[in-house]
């Protein structure tokens, strides 16, 4: 660990905190403002699209209408992508003449991109045509992100709105949220962002792959492509699907320390901003900052642990002669970024359900690798995916408020609305589904020959790889502990189902919570009311998240990274 290393992390934290309020205000104006910013230029475009779909933007939807619109739209996304991938050999913009994508991989990829996971069972540069990359995949980077933000806002509206008892219990209009997210937030920012990336050396070209002669005089084919445009939304929309297999470790995706820093910031900027937006919607910005604080603490704890673990030599490499580990565990890391920036990237990308990587998590020390795994298993709510992080943590806020309410002897209420049996039921469903997917599939995978045959490592590390894969899928993260060949029929199918369940089986209950909260009478706060805009609440929230997450996954983690750590410390290797 070095001072410079810590300084990078601190500077990042400060920059993030500074960006939160402006980003939050911008998002608030886009989604909740009377007149969104740049309405003069973008307003006509927005209205054009509503006319095109035949949507009345002023007509709001109930939670179930919102959920159905969201599901229909997502199903449409899966089908179109599936079709494009299956037909890529006969479609244009395929200079490398890649064959059609096989059915299981096409299903996996279509669900992966629709669910904002961007798990890639394939190498982009050797499987996907330019058309597939742009029309089938990059498109989802925008829509899946906008869907996530929309759902988060719908839920936030449910919690914060105060409506008359006889008013319709609506949460907003899905099509409006979708449109505004893309039009006012994602596209304009990505336009500038992509130009910036290109200026730093990120590729943006339609030229076919180029064969070059290396310094050693060997021939090498360099994969090229329209990278910068995808790179921008990959980070901003917490998608994480790299243009190249090496993702943000690839110099064409992430060429300079500056791009690395900006990429890191762009992962968190929308999720962090949304906490402020939420506070504005609740008419009390402390509510938003309390959520932000809980997220920030969890992030800081994660990055500190990861950096500490990675700055130590890897015990497994200690017996290998000639490996200098004085700078920490550098295996699988870009020397350009070093230990600190790699640990930071790994933490941020798994806190948010981004999944882009600039180092190989598989090569982290057992405890260092535990951090990304645990981050995902907390439920992707440490800032989390765009929108997904906010709605996930709001479920935990509801649970925390419930426990706190009992402990202070008052029927629990959040933002003045009572938490009752129905909300608890939905919140518990939400909390239950996540471990059910992860543990269920992992348990299946580790005992089935078609599950374990994909493993590159046996022993506890293999277990970690499988756990990580399904956590990543259920959490819609998309990063991988490399070392697992997931491009098999079972893996593609199981992961596809895990991603769908991890997205939609969780969104529906949370929207239902929004729907049942929106019509509730607002109870005036009194001395006996537990305040939720305070550090005490942030602390409680962190406690509940950690306890629930830890209790759920500790036995599995025990057999994976923990056993591996103790074995490696004892000098044994599998």
């Amino acid at each position: 660990m070095t001072g410079i290393g810590w300084l990078q992390i601190v500077v990042y934290g400060v920059a993030l905190a500074a960006l939160t309020k402006p980003a939050g205000i911008y998002l608030y104006r886009v989604y909740e403002g009377e007149r969104p910013p740049f309405a003069r230029f973008l307003g006509p475009v927005e209205r054009f699209f509503y006319r095109l779909y035949g949507v009345d933007p002023r007509r709001e939807q109930t939670w179930s209408e919102y959920a159905i619109a969201m599901l229909v739209f997502s199903a449409f996304g899966v089908l179109v992508t599936y079709a494009l991938l299956r037909l890529q050999d006969v479609l244009p913009a395929n200079p490398q003449h890649f064959a059609a994508v096989p059915p299981d991989l096409a299903f996996n990829t279509a669900t992966s991109f629709t669910t904002n996971t961007n798990w890639q069972s394939y190498s982009g540069e050797s499987t996907m045509s330019y058309l597939s990359q742009m029309a089938a995949l990059a498109w989802h980077n925008f829509t899946s992100a906008a869907v996530g933000i929309g759902v988060a806002l719908a839920v936030a509206r449910g919690l914060t709105r105060r409506i008359a008892p006889d008013a319709p219990r609506t949460l907003g209009n899905f099509w409006v949220d979708l449109n505004r997210g893309i039009l006012y937030v994602l596209l304009p920012v990505c336009l500038v962002y992509a130009l910036f990336l290109a200026s730093q050396g990120v590729l943006q070209t339609f030229a076919p792959y180029r064969e070059v002669t290396t310094l050693e005089g060997l021939k090498q084919v360099l994969a090229l492509g329209p990278v910068a445009s995808q790179e921008a939304i990959k980070m901003l929309g917490t998608n994480g699907g790299g243009f190249f297999n090496a993702n943000s470790a690839h110099p064409f995706e992430n060429p300079t320390p500056l791009t690395n820093f900006v990429q890191l910031l762009s992962i968190f900027v929308i999720p962090a901003g949304l906490t402020y937006t939420y506070g504005r919607m609740a008419r009390d910005t402390r509510q938003g900052w309390a959520i932000f604080a809980a997220m920030f603490v969890l992030w800081a704890a994660g990055v500190a642990t990861a950096y500490w673990a990675e700055a130590h030599p890897n015990a497994a490499l200690a017996p290998v002669a000639g490996v200098d580990q004085s700078a920490g565990n550098l295996e699988g890391k870009e020397a350009r970024f070093g230990v600190s920036a790699s640990a930071l990237f790994a933490t941020v990308t798994t806190d948010a359900s981004c999944g882009a990587v600039n180092s190989m998590h598989d090569s982290f020390t057992p405890l260092g690798g535990l951090v990304p795994l645990a981050n995902i298993q907390l439920g992707e709510l440490v800032f989390g995916g765009v929108g997904a992080g906010l709605y996930a943590i709001l479920v935990y806020a509801v649970l925390s408020v419930f426990i706190a309410g009992l402990m202070v002897g008052r029927t629990p209420e959040y933002l003045g609305k009572k938490i009752e049996a129905r909300e608890m039921k939905l919140a518990m469903l939400y909390v239950l589904i996540f471990p059910l997917i992860i543990l269920g599939f992992a348990a299946w995978g580790v005992v089935a020959p078609y599950g374990t045959s994909s493993l590159a490592n046996s022993g506890p590390h293999g277990l970690s790889e499988i756990l990580y894969a399904f956590s990543s899928a259920a959490g819609n993260n998309g990063s991988a502990f490399a070392g697992l060949n997931a491009n098999t029929i079972w893996w593609n199918t199981a992961m596809g189902i895990a991603m769908l369940a991890g997205r939609f089986l969780m969104i529906v209950p949370i929207l239902a919570i929004g729907g049942s909260m929106v019509g509730k009478k607002v109870v005036a706060a009194g001395l006996g009311t537990f305040p939720t805009g305070t550090p005490l609440f942030s602390g409680l929230l962190v406690g509940v998240i950690v306890i629930v997450g830890a209790l759920t996954f500790f036995p599995a983690l025990c057999l994976g990274p923990l056993v591996e750590h103790f074995i490696a410390s004892a000098g044994k290797v599998y």
Binding site: A421, K425, M428, L429
Partner: protein, 35 residues
């Protein structure tokens, strides 16, 4: 061989019990007023 069968039987029984309990608990979760 016989031990192997016994062990598999254990796992099958265990799985059955767990499934039953899980169904019962899910019922208790969605219909709490009946308890």
């Amino acid at each position: 061989m016989r031990a192997g069968v016994a062990v598999s039987l254990d796992y099958a029984l265990g799985a059955l019990f767990s499934l039953g309990l899980a169904l019962y608990l899910v019922y208790a979760l969605i219909r709490p007023e009946r308890f």
